[in-house]
Symmetry: C2
Subunit: 229 residues, 2 copies
């Protein structure tokens, strides 16, 4: 198909598709004539992956490029691919890590990982990410979050186990890699959305209990004026 | 203290502090003389909150401004504050929501919420966020994630309940508001880091099991060359 048809079928504007081509996110089409390229279903599928990563996963253009390059490599083991997928979801900003306070937090993060008996490379960037959060939590007034570290970790691990098992169940290397990437990026967005919905629900339930109000399933009570905007 | 001292004690450069003042994130200091302002411990504490939101929570400047403005309001109920905190952690990008495919995903999201008996406002933005993820998952090849929606939801809700209970336990309105904001933003970053660590661990355990290798607690086997970069 021509680029106009690719645009129509994907719902993505032609200039945006050209931008992805320039950025190396999308493979060039097959050249039929000068200034005329032909695209196939693989391009359409790739465009959907790009949009899922960028718009829903919140991944940067450069991280998306790394992920897509990794998907094309046949020499990577699924465990190696974890590194690429993790890099894609890692925050681009982080606090100053060259302070005593941060190094203390990193020690606490390592201790937490080791106390739980988790097998994690000493150089895994997620250790730094955990240290970032611990360091921040120590400077603000939210001891409750740090006191509940175990509750977070238990749920995070049990979800991670399901996700890793799903990857392994695919069997074929290329298809495993695909799920590592999609599962890591979209799984995070999915959990985040469900946690916010859970907050609303739990808050409504506790509010109704405190005021001894009946709750009608499915529709929140207008009278309590919860603001959700 | 003068701005230089505030910079030294917070570890934040003077131009950055001036930027936060211009952006309305930080209250002006008390004016002692022309071009000379005096800052107190409240400013130091506020700077720590700003950095936690921006650097660790990944919140935008404008969302941080909304959060900080909300913290100063005494008329908001904790449930109302959820809306502000949720807005702060909502992705700034999202897919095109004006398509039939997206509207179908939104219907599926609503149905999921209602089947679980969750009390959530029909206008809650987290419903749109869930629809974004469902729509993306339907266009890419990752049915395993959609098939595990319940596993995600169960863990998300049980975490949300703990977080809401911690907020309520604070009792005093202003302190409840503070934890809604910090818990929502930093709790998301905390869970994300622990989930990635959980992936590494689960992947190592499954890998060792598949290869019938012994695992030594605390240190991953170098021989299996897991890439964590």
């Amino acid at each position: 198909m021509r680029i106009g048809e690719l645009s129509r079928r994907s719902g993505i504007a032609v200039p945006t598709i050209k931008y992805y081509l320039r950025e190396g996110l999308l493979e060039p089409g097959e050249t039929r004539a000068p200034n005329q390229a032909d695209y196939g279903d693989a391009h359409l599928q790739r465009l959907r992956l790009i949009r899922a990563l960028l718009d829903v996963g919140g991944v940067s253009i450069s991280a998306a490029r790394d992920v897509i390059a990794a998907l094309g490599r046949t020499d990577l083991q699924p465990h190696d691919l974890l590194g690429v997928a993790h890099h894609a979801v890692s925050p681009t900003r982080h606090p100053d890590r060259d302070t005593d306070a941060w190094r203390d937090a990193r020690t606490a993060a390592d201790q937490f990982v080791s106390e739980r008996g988790w097998f994690v490379e000493p150089t895994a960037p997620a250790r730094d990410q955990l240290a970032d959060v611990i360091a921040a939590l120590r400077t603000v007034n939210a001891p409750e979050v740090l006191n509940n570290l175990d509750a977070y970790a238990t749920r995070a691990l049990s979800l991670a186990e399901i996700e890793v098992d799903n990857v392994i169940a695919r069997g074929e290397a290329v298809r495993m890699l695909e799920l590592v990437v999609l599962g890591t990026v979209l799984g995070e967005a999915l959990f985040a959305a469900l946690r916010l919905l859970g907050h609303e629900h739990a808050s409504m339930v506790r509010l109704a209990a405190a005021q001894e109000l009946p709750l009608t399933a499915g529709t929140p009570r207008k009278a309590s004026r919860p603001a959700s905007t």
